[in-house]
Amino acid sequence: MLCGNHSSFGLLTESKDKANVTIEYLDSYAKDAWEAVLHYLVGTPSNKKPSAVMALMEHSGLMAAGSGSKELRITNKGFQFLLQDVNEQLGSLELGQDYSITSLTDTQRQMLGIFPASLFETYLKKNCFCSEDLKHLGLVYQRKSKSSRFYPTRLATSLTSGAAVSGETGESGYIIVETNFKVYAYTNSPLQIAVLSLFVSLKARFANMVIGVLTRDSVREAFNNGISASQITQFLANHAHSEMKKVLPNTVVDQIRLWESERKRAVAHASHLYSDFGRIQDYLEVLSELGYVLWNSDEKKLIIVSPEGHVRVREFLQRRGK
C-alpha cells in the first residue's frame, strides 16, 4: 500500500479548515485515543472495540486469543508494553508490515516530522498513508469520517521524527514509593491504576490517590507476566512524584532485583530417578559401578542419574533382568 512515492503520502493543503482545529485539541484528542487503546489492552470493558485496533494488537503480539475462547487476552508482551512510556510504546507497536515505520521513506518521515513544527493545518489525502487504524490510535485526526482532511497529531510526528512526545504525556510524576515498599499514586485514572496493579497490590483508594504495596507476591505475579525487574523500576522512576526527586529508594530497587534473581537460583537439568530396586545388589551395583549418579538415598534406595547415565543404567538393568 505504501509505495514510497511522494504523493502516496498525501498532500499539504494550503486552504484553511472551517472548523478551527487547535494544537491543544489535537493533543487531547491524541491522548484520549491512545488511552482508549491501552484500555482495550488491559481489558476495560467498553462499548466499542474497533476491530482494527484489536487486530493491530493481535498482530503486534500484545494480545492473543486465550485457549478455548476467541476472546483476546493480553500477552506477556502486552504487559511489558503497558509499562513503557508513550514513545517506546509507539516504537514497539507494529503498525503492520504495510505501515511499519521502517518502510516509510525518508521523505515521508520528513513530511510527518515537519508538520507539527510548522503547521497543523495540514491534511493528508484519504486512501494514502492514513487508515482507520491510525485514527483509532490517535495518530491522526479526522473531523468527519468523510472528511478528506487529516491532521497528524504529536503522536504521529514523534513516531516519525523520533522526537519524544513531550507535554502530551501531561501528567508529571505521580507515584511515591517509600522505603517500606508502600506505593502511593496520585491518580484517579483507571488506566494508570490498572497498570499499577500489574505489580502492586492495591490496598486503598481515595478520590485522587491509590495506595498499594509492593510485595514479593505482587511482583512475582508481574514476573510471571513477563515483566522484568528493570521495567518495573524504570516505570516507577519515570513516573516518580516530584517529591521523590526522581530517585527511587535503593532498598526497593535492590529488592525487586533480588526478587527477580531468586527466580533464577534453581536451574533445572534433565535427569532420571530409579526406585524400587528388586535386589539390594542391583542398587549397590548401580551405585558403585557407574559414574553417573547425581544423588542417592540409602534408606529409600533411590538413585538419580544423569541422562548419559540413564542409558547405561538401563542397559545394565536390562542385562540384569535377563
Binding site: 476495560t44 490498572a194 496493579s197 490496598k203 481515595f206
Partner: protein, 982 residues
C-alpha cells in the same frame, strides 16, 4: 449479604440505630481488612526471600481472600450510592472509594482519611509538622514522604487525656483532611472520646479516690460490682477526710470539692516559651484588679452553682487559693495577650439563664458552653484583624456545638497567640486555606498555649465528686472502668500536695532540653498537673533527661526503676550530671547496694531495678528493710525505664507495692510480639508522646544510621547438616556459619580501619555476657570508652537495652532472637546516640549490620525483625557480597578442615547442652527476651550463678560461642564446662 442490604436501606433512611449498626459492621470488616494489610505489610516486602514461610503465606492467602470477601460485603452497600470508576481486569480494583469529593483546595491539605480510621499524611506538606503535632492517631509507618497513622481507641484515649476534646479533634482533622471526614470516622471519634477523660484516679494521703466532674458517671460506675466492691464508703473513713474534701451526709453521695487550674513552668527558666516578642512580667495595677474581679465573679458563679447542684457541699478556703493562682497565672503571661484577654470579663454578661446553663454543663447534662463561645467570638473579632478571618462565624457556630468537658474548657481555635505564627506564614507567602491559617494547632496541643487557655479556662472552676477505693483493688477498678468505657486518667496535682515534702531539685543551667523533649514534657504537664503515661523516644534521644526533668518539675520523692544494675548506675550518673542533687540525695538499691539507705530528710531519689523491687522470695535482712521503706512511703513520681520490657504481671506487682502519685514510663519501642502492650494503657497510662525517629535523625538529635543486611551463604557442609537437624540445632548452625564469622571479621577490620568504635561480638576482643559481673561490665565499658586501642567489644543479649555507649558507631548483629522487632530496634538503639561528627552533609555516621545465613530460617526472622524499623522509615540495604572479602588476610576458617572441625564441635557440644538449652527456650519464649535480660541481671546479682552458667552455655551466648571459638587455645571452654557438669 441479605442482612447487609437491609442495613444499607436503613442507612439511607437515616435511622440512627441502623447507622450505628452498619458502621460497626463496617468497622469490623475494615478491621479485618486492615489486619490483613498489616500482615502482608510484614510479609510483603521482606518475607520474600524466605524459604520457610510457605505455610505462613498459605494462611495468609486464605486470610486474604476472606478479608477481601468481607471488604466486598462492606463495600456493597456503598456501591449503590456511589459510582465508582474502576478498571475491571486487575483483581484489586474494586477497592472502596472512600470519599469522592475533594475539597477545592485539597492539594493544600495534607491528610487523606479513610473510614476505617487510617490516616495518610503528606509529610512534605508545608503544614505537616503542625499536623503531626496535632495528630491524635497511632503512627503505623513514618518514612520520608507519606506517613500512615491509624485512629484507635487508645490513641483517642491518649488525646483526650492530654486535654484535646472531641470537637477539636473532629474539627481540626476535618480541616486538615482533603475530603470531608467520613461520617463513620466522625462517629467513631465521638463514640470513643465522649466517655473518655471523665474519670480520674487521685492518690491523696495514701488513699485512692475515683473522681469525676460528672456525678452520673460515678453512679454508673458504682453499679459495677467490682468497683462497688472496691469502694470504701465515706462514713467509715470520716476521720481521714482532708481539707478539700467535705463529708457528705448521705452515704451514696460523693465527696465533692472544687478544682482549679494553674499552668506549669518547667524548672529551667529558658523553658518559658517565647510566645510573643515583648514579654514583660510587670502587670499594670488596674489589670491586676481586673483579673481579680474576674476571679471573684467566677468563683461566685461556681459557688452558686455548687450550692444549687450538690446539696450539702461546702466551699472551703478555696476562694483565696483560687485568687492567688489566678494572678500567678497572669503574671507569667505576656502583656499583649493579657490586655486582650483580661479586659473581657467572661462573666460580666452572664444572665441567670446562662448561669443555669452553666449549672447544667457542670452537672454534665448540657454539653454546650455558650459563655465560652461568647468570649471566643469577641476575641476572634479583635484578634483576627491582621488577617481576614472569614471563618469567624463558622468558628463560632462550631463552638456553639462544642461538647465540652468542663474540666478543660478549651476554646478550640482562633487566638491572639496565633497572630505571630500566621504572620510568619503569610510572609512566607504560602497560600494556605484560610481555615487552616486560622487553625492554631499548637494552641490545641501545646501547653504553652494551654497556658493562654488557662486564662480563659480558669474561670471555670469545677465541682469534682469523688469516692474512695481500696488501694489494693485499684487495678481491678482501673480495668473495670476501661471495660465500662470510662478509662481512668491519673493526674497528680503536685503543687497542691503538701503531704509529701518538697524535694528541692532543679535542672542545672547546662541541661538544655531539645524541642521534642520539651514537647513530650508539655504533654505530661499540660494542664498544670502531672499526668501518668508513657513517653516514647528513640534510644539515644535522651529519655533520661526527660525523666530527670520530670523529677525536677514535680520536686517530690522519686523512685526510678530500671532493668539492670548497669542502668541503675547510669541513671544515678545522669541525675548527678543534669540536676543539682547532692551525693546523698541519690540512693541506689541493688544487690550490691542493699543497705538501708535513708534518704536525707526522708527525701530524694531512689534508683532500683524491677526485679529487686518485685523479688518474691525471702530477702536478706537489709533488703527487706529497704523494701519496707519503699512500701511505707508515698512517692511523688515513679519513673519506669524501658517500660516495654517488663510484662504486665511484674508491673502489677510494682504498682501494688509502690504507692506513687504519678507514673511516667519511658521507652523507645512500644512493641511486643505478644499482646501485653495493651495492658500498659490501664496499668500506667496512655502514650503521651511518640517521637519520629527519622525526623530526629534528620535534625541530628540521633545518629543517622545506615542499616545493612549482609547475606552469608551457608557453607555446603553446614547447610547439609542444617537441613537434617532439629530447630534448635539449626539455630546454632546458622549462627555459627563460618561465612558469617568471616564476614564479621571483615567488617570489623574495615570499620576499625575507618576509626569507628565498635560494638559487636567476636574475635579476640573483650566481651560482656550474662555471666559478667556488674563491675566487670562497667570496667569493660569504661575501657571501651577511653582506651584508644580498644575499639571493639562483644556483647551478648544482656547488652540489648539500657547500656549507654555513646562512642559506639557500628554494630554487627550476629545472632538474634527470632523475630523480635523490639530487640532489633533496641540493638540499633545502642548506636543511635548523636555522634560528635554528626551532620556532615547528611552522611551516615553509624552503621548497623545484620549477618544473615542465607536460605535458613534466619532470613524469615530477620525480615520480621526489621519491620519496626522499616515502619520508622529506616531502609535496609542488602549486601549479597562483601567486596574484597576474599583478598583480606587472614580470615578465620579459611580451610575446609577448620570448618569441619568447627561443625563437629558444634554438633557434639550441642548435643550435650541441649537440655540446658531447652530450659532456656521455655524461659525465653518469644517476645520476652528483654525481660529475661532484666531477670537475668538480677538473678546474677542475687548470686544465682547457676542460671548464668546455663545461659552462657548457649542461647544468651550464641554470641558468646563465637568468642570462645575464635580464641584459639581456649576454644569451647564454655562447652567443656557443660560437659563436666554432666
Amino acid at each position: 449479604m441479605k442482612r447487609i442490604r437491609v442495613e444499607s436501606e436503613d442507612d439511607d433512611s437515616n435511622s440512627e440505630f441502623a447507622v450505628s449498626d452498619s458502621s460497626s459492621h463496617d468497622s469490623s470488616a475494615s478491621l479485618e481488612y486492615d489486619s490483613n494489610e498489616n500482615h502482608t505489610g510484614v510479609q510483603g516486602p521482606n518475607s520474600n526471600r524466605d524459604t520457610h514461610s510457605d505455610s505462613n503465606s498459605d494462611s495468609n492467602a486464605t486470610r486474604n481472600t476472606k478479608a477481601v470477601r468481607k471488604l466486598k460485603q462492606a463495600t456493597s452497600q456503598h456501591t449503590k450510592r456511589k459510582v465508582t470508576v474502576t478498571a475491571t481486569s486487575p483483581p484489586n480494583s474494586d477497592l472502596e472509594l472512600d470519599n469522592e469529593t475533594l475539597k477545592l483546595d485539597h492539594s493544600l491539605r495534607p491528610i487523606y482519611a479513610a473510614a476505617d480510621g487510617s490516616l495518610y499524611l503528606e509529610a512534605f506538606s508545608p503544614i505537616a509538622e503542625q499536623a503531626i503535632d496535632f495528630l491524635v492517631a497511632e503512627p503505623v509507618s513514618r518514612p520520608k514522604l507519606i506517613h500512615e497513622y491509624i485512629l484507635t481507641e487508645y490513641s483517642l484515649y491518649a488525646a483526650v487525656s492530654v486535654g484535646i476534646q472531641t470537637e477539636s479533634i473532629i474539627q481540626v482533622l476535618n480541616k486538615l483532611c482533603k475530603t470531608d471526614l467520613p461520617d463513620k470516622l466522625v462517629s467513631f471519634i465521638r463514640k470513643h472520646t465522649n466517655s473518655y477523660g471523665k474519670v480520674k484516679l487521685v492518690l491523696k494521703d495514701n488513699h485512692q479516690y475515683v473522681e469525676s466532674a460528672f456525678p452520673e458517671v460515678l453512679r454508673i460506675l458504682l453499679k459495677n460490682e467490682v468497683i462497688k466492691d472496691a469502694r470504701i464508703s465515706v462514713a467509715e473513713n470520716s476521720t481521714e477526710v482532708s481539707n478539700d474534701f467535705t463529708e457528705n451526709a448521705q452515704n451514696d453521695e460523693f465527696t465533692t470539692r472544687f478544682q482549679t487550674f494553674e499552668p506549669v513552668t518547667f524548672t529551667r527558666p529558658a523553658f518559658v516559651p517565647k510566645t510573643a516578642g515583648s514579654a514583660s512580667n510587670t502587670m499594670p495595677r488596674n489589670i491586676r484588679e481586673n483579673s481579680n474581679a474576674v476571679a471573684k465573679s467566677n468563683s461566685s458563679v461556681a459557688y452558686q452553682n455548687s450550692a444549687s447542684s450538690t446539696q450539702g457541699s461546702q466551699v472551703s478556703k478555696l476562694y483565696h487559693d483560687f485568687e492567688r493562682d489566678y494572678i500567678d497565672l497572669f503574671e507569667t503571661e505576656n502583656d499583649d495577650l493579657f490586655d486582650e484577654m483580661s479586659v473581657l470579663d467572661p462573666f460580666e454578661n452572664l444572665d441567670p439563664t446562662q448561669i443555669e446553663k452553666l449549672d447544667r454543663i457542670l452537672s454534665g447534662k448540657q454539653p454546650a458552653i455558650e459563655f465560652n463561645s461568647h468570649i471566643l467570638g469577641e476575641n476572634s473579632d479583635e484578634n483576627s484583624q491582621p488577617f481576614v478571618n472569614r471563618n469567624v462565624d463558622e468558628t463560632r457556630g462550631q463552638t456553639n456545638r462544642v461538647q465540652s468537658d468542663p474540666i478543660d474548657l478549651a476554646p478550640p481555635i482562633t487566638l491572639a497567640q496565633l497572630d505571630k505564627e500566621t504572620d510568619e506564614e503569610n510572609s512566607q507567602s504560602l497560600i494556605m486555606p484560610q481555615d487552616i491559617l486560622d487553625l492554631n494547632i499548637a494552641f490545641i496541643t501545646d501547653p504553652t498555649a494551654a497556658r493562654t487557655l488557662g486564662s480563659q479556662a480558669a474561670p471555670a472552676s469545677v465541682i469534682i465528686s469523688s469516692f474512695e477505693i481500696a488501694r489494693m483493688k485499684s487495678e481491678h477498678v482501673r480495668k473495670a472502668c476501661s471495660a465500662a468505657g470510662f478509662p481512668i486518667l491519673e493526674e497528680y496535682d503536685f503543687r497542691a500536695d503538701t503531704t509529701i515534702p518538697t524535694f528541692d531539685i532543679a535542672l542545672k543551667p547546662a541541661a538544655i532540653l531539645r524541642p521534642y523533649q520539651e514537647k513530650s514534657l508539655n504533654k505530661m504537664f499540660g494542664n498544670g498537673r502531672a499526668r501518668s503515661g508513657i513517653i516514647v523516644l528513640p534510644c539515644g534521644a535522651g529519655k533520661t533527661l526527660v525523666g530527670v526533668t520530670a523529677a525536677c518539675t514535680i520536686k517530690k520523692r522519686v523512685l526510678v526503676l530500671c532493668t539492670s544494675a548497669v542502668s541503675v548506675e547510669q541513671w544515678a550518673r545522669e541525675f548527678k550530671s543534669w540536676a543539682n542533687v547532692k551525693d546523698g540525695d541519690v540512693a541506689k538499691f541493688t544487690s550490691q547496694h542493699k543497705e538501708l539507705v535513708r534518704l536525707p530528710n526522708d527525701n530524694g531519689i531512689l534508683i532500683s531495678t524491677y526485679t529487686m523491687v518485685t523479688f518474691s522470695n525471702k530477702r536478706a535482712y537489709d533488703a527487706q528493710k529497704m523494701m519496707d521503706y519503699i512500701c511505707s512511703r508515698e512517692w511523688g513520681l515513679l519513673l519506669l525505664d524501658e517500660v516495654h520490657v517488663v510484662p504486665a504481671d511484674m508491673f502489677r506487682k510494682v504498682l501494688t507495692i509502690v504507692a506513687a502519685h504519678c507514673k511516667l514510663g519511658l521507652t523507645a519501642t512500644l512493641v511486643r510480639e505478644d499482646d501485653k502492650i495493651g495492658n500498659l494503657n490501664y496499668l500506667i497510662g496512655p502514650k503521651l508522646y511518640e517521637a519520629n525517629w527519622l525526623d530526629l535523625a534528620k535534625k541530628g538529635h540521633i545518629a543517622n544510621v545506615r542499616c545493612s543486611e549482609v547475606w552469608c551463604t551457608m557453607t555446603k557442609e553446614f547447610y547439609k547438616e542444617y537441613l537434617g537437624q532439629s530447630s534448635r540445632k539449626r539455630q546454632l548452625l546458622y549462627v555459627m556459619n563460618p561465612n558469617k564469622i568471616q564476614a564479621c571479621q571483615y567488617l570489623i577490620d574495615y570499620h576499625e580501619a575507618r576509626g569507628d568504635k565498635h560494638y559487636a561480638t567476636k574475635l579476640n576482643r573483650p566481651y560482656i555476657y550474662g555471666g559478667s559481673s556488674t563491675a566487670d561490665r562497667l570496667r569493660t565499658l569504661q575501657q571501651f570508652k577511653y582506651n584508644p586501642s580498644l575499639n571493639t567489644i562483644f556483647l551478648s543479649k544482656v547488652g540489648d537495652t539500657s547500656i549507654d555507649i555513646p562512642e559506639a558507631s557500628c554494630l554487627i548483629q550476629i545472632s538474634s532472637h527470632y523475630g523480635s522487632r523490639r530487640q532489633e530496634a533496641q540493638r540499633l538503639g545502642r548506636i543511635l546516640r548523636a555522634k560528635k561528627n554528626a551532620i556532615k552533609n547528611g552522611d551516615y555516621n553509624s552503621f548497623f549490620y545484620t549477618l544473615v545465613s542465607r536460605d535458613t530460617e534466619e532470613v524469615y526472622y530477620c525480615a520480621k525483625r526489621q519491620q519496626f524499623l522499616i515502619d520508622q522509615g529506616y531502609a535496609y540495604d542488602i549486601i549479597t557480597q562483601l567486596d574484597g572479602m576474599e583478598t583480606v588476610a587472614p580470615l578465620v576458617y579459611r580451610s575446609i578442615n577448620e570448618r569441619l572441625e568447627l561443625l563437629a564441635t558444634i554438633l557434639v557440644s550441642h548435643d550435650m547442652v541441649v537440655f540446658d538449652d531447652e530450659e532456656l527456650e521455655d524461659y525465653d519464649s518469644l517476645g520476652s527476651s528483654a525481660f529475661k535480660t532484666a531477670e537475668f541481671s538480677s538473678s546474677e546479682v542475687n548470686k544465682v550463678t547457676q542460671v548464668a552458667a546455663t545461659m552462657s552455655s548457649l542461647s544468651g551466648a550464641d554470641n558468646m560461642a563465637y568468642i570462645e571459638q575464635t580464641r584459639g587455645g581456649v576454644r569451647h571452654r564454655r562447652f567443656d564446662g557443660s560437659f563436666k557438669k554432666k
